[in-house]
């Protein structure tokens, strides 16, 4: 802006960069009037997304999810607990979400990101209320022992749409999960039945569940975050977009097309019914994309 010098490409590049830093909102508005975003996406297009199941060797189920450069690593470890008296034939899921200092310049050691507990709570609400997993399937011996699934999600690279990526990695990790086969030992504790079953002691102890098994996963919850600015709706915002345009709407639908949650945490833009409807229909399209990505990634994993 101002004195635009045209002394070669390099200097004009510098000018744009300075403009972007000094007047971020105007920089974006100039793009929005042209219906394009600085990363060359149309307003309603999501970034490239990929899922890699089985990324963590030490876990019972794991997945790495990437949306653009936002990266989430989810891992599930199964431990045994005594079920509560209220629900003797149900296991449980404990969700933890971490933003280690490596993921973003705003997180420093000892000073956790404000966002992290919010996302953790949203994730745990979404996973438990969506009915994706029947907690009864996590029971081992009714009233005596049940599985506690520890789901730990690490944000490795934070660049917007953190909840979407975290949820995607979580559902992929649950799809990848294999519940280990266990048997009772003399002390009344459960131990894993080794796959070769070479230990003689394992053979006689009647295995509590005979095979490693998968969970049955009914309708998967998936989400899309949109940023609102004036009349514009931007799907799948980057970190920069989220920090400049502060109003966001996160919609969670499941694959049976039911609404799980709709989250609009305030912000300067008041959403009209029309824009909320628009967000929901964008989410519906996005979920079809995500389902294909998920099934492709699991298909290619099975081939290997």
């Amino acid at each position: 802006m101002g004195a635009q010098k045209n002394t070669g490409d390099w200097s004009s590049d510098m000018e744009i960069d300075a403009f972007r830093r000094l007047f971020p909102l105007r920089f974006y508005e100039r793009h929005l009037t042209e219906a394009i975003r600085p990363d060359a996406r149309p307003l309603k297009k999501c970034r490239d997304t990929s899922v890699a199941p089985g990324a963590v060797a030490t876990a019972d189920g794991s997945a790495l999810a990437k949306i653009g450069s936002t990266t989430m690593l989810a891992s599930i470890k199964m431990e045994v607990m005594t079920p509560s008296v209220d629900s003797p034939d149900e296991g449980n899921i404990a969700v933890e979400y971490y933003m280690p200092p490596i993921c973003s310049p705003i997180v420093r050691p000892g000073r956790p990101a404000e966002l992290a507990p919010v996302i953790a709570k949203q994730l745990s609400n979404t996973l438990l209320s969506s009915g994706m997993i029947d907690l009864k399937e996590l029971s081992i011996i009714s009233g005596k022992a049940a599985w506690m699934a520890y789901l730990d999600i690490y944000c490795l690279d934070a660049d917007g749409a953190l909840f979407d990526a975290a949820l995607l990695s979580a559902v992929a990790a649950f799809s990848h999960l294999n519940i280990p086969a266990v048997s009772l030992n003399d002390e009344g504790k459960l131990t894993i039945v080794s796959e070769e079953s070479n230990g003689e002691e394992n053979v006689e102890k009647e295995p509590v569940n005979r095979d490693r098994r998968k969970l049955t996963i009914s309708s998967i919850p998936l989400s899309l975050t949109c940023v609102l600015h004036k009349n514009y709706i931007l799907a799948d915002p980057t970190g920069e977009e989220e920090s400049i345009m502060e109003t966001s709407i996160t919609t969670v639908l499941n694959t049976s097309d039911q609404l799980i949650s709709l989250y609009k945490p305030g912000g300067p833009v008041l959403a009209s019914t029309a824009s909320i409807k628009e967000c929901v229909s964008l989410t519906r399209q996005r979920i079809k994309e995500l389902q294909d990505i998920l099934s492709d990634s699991f298909a290619s994993m099975d081939m290997n």
Partner: protein
Amino acid sequence: MAGKPNDAPATYSPSLKNKKHPFYKNSDLDWVRPDGRGFHQCRPAFFRTGAVNAASGSAYAELGNTKVIVSVFGPRESKKAMMYSDIGRLNCNVSYTTFATSVRGQGSDHKEFSSMLHKALEGAIRLETFPKTTVDIFALVLESGGSDFPVLISCASLALADAGIMLHDLVAAVAVSSLGSNLVIDPVSEEESYQDGSLLITCMPSRYEVTQLTITGEWSTSRINEAMELCLDACTKLGKVMRSCLKEAASTTTD
């Protein structure tokens, strides 16, 4: 089942407690390493820079089951409480994920590694090039498969180079474990748990200078010499792998 105490930890991992027959016994002279490597053979090293976009520089390293990510931020403003300094500051932090070990851990900070990483890198960085500011080096161990600390150091020096921080040279680190009468290079976790002593060298391969040397356990002078030779030789080779990783990254960005 009835005798299950209620005040036991809320959950426990049902993994097998009884160890598979140990691969190494004290009397053994003839034994094989758990992953079948020769005693003086390192695991193949994989490095990649630019793993984290949000950081100024970053690197990912994978040696066998050991997987680490290091991000570098800055140079940026020092904490307000810091005194004026005409050379730059370094701030290191190392943490583990909860799934780094086979039994779910706490995922806490590793204070010892944090301060040792600081000391290992300090000598290689030209701190005078960024006065009054701080460079933050944050590391996350995704999976711990043995020799975590040397891998962290090598990975951190690549991340620094990726961030464009001025260095005298890359820093490569290799550890040697002493098991009975044998010296094994680049030990895995299982070997580390049986070791009588360990030796870790952190050096700048092109300058042939050592920034950190850590020895634990009982060593004779001749064995120290032997181990140091082994480590320095391996550091030189590791340095070449790291250098080629940087060159590769530079050539792909200019294309």
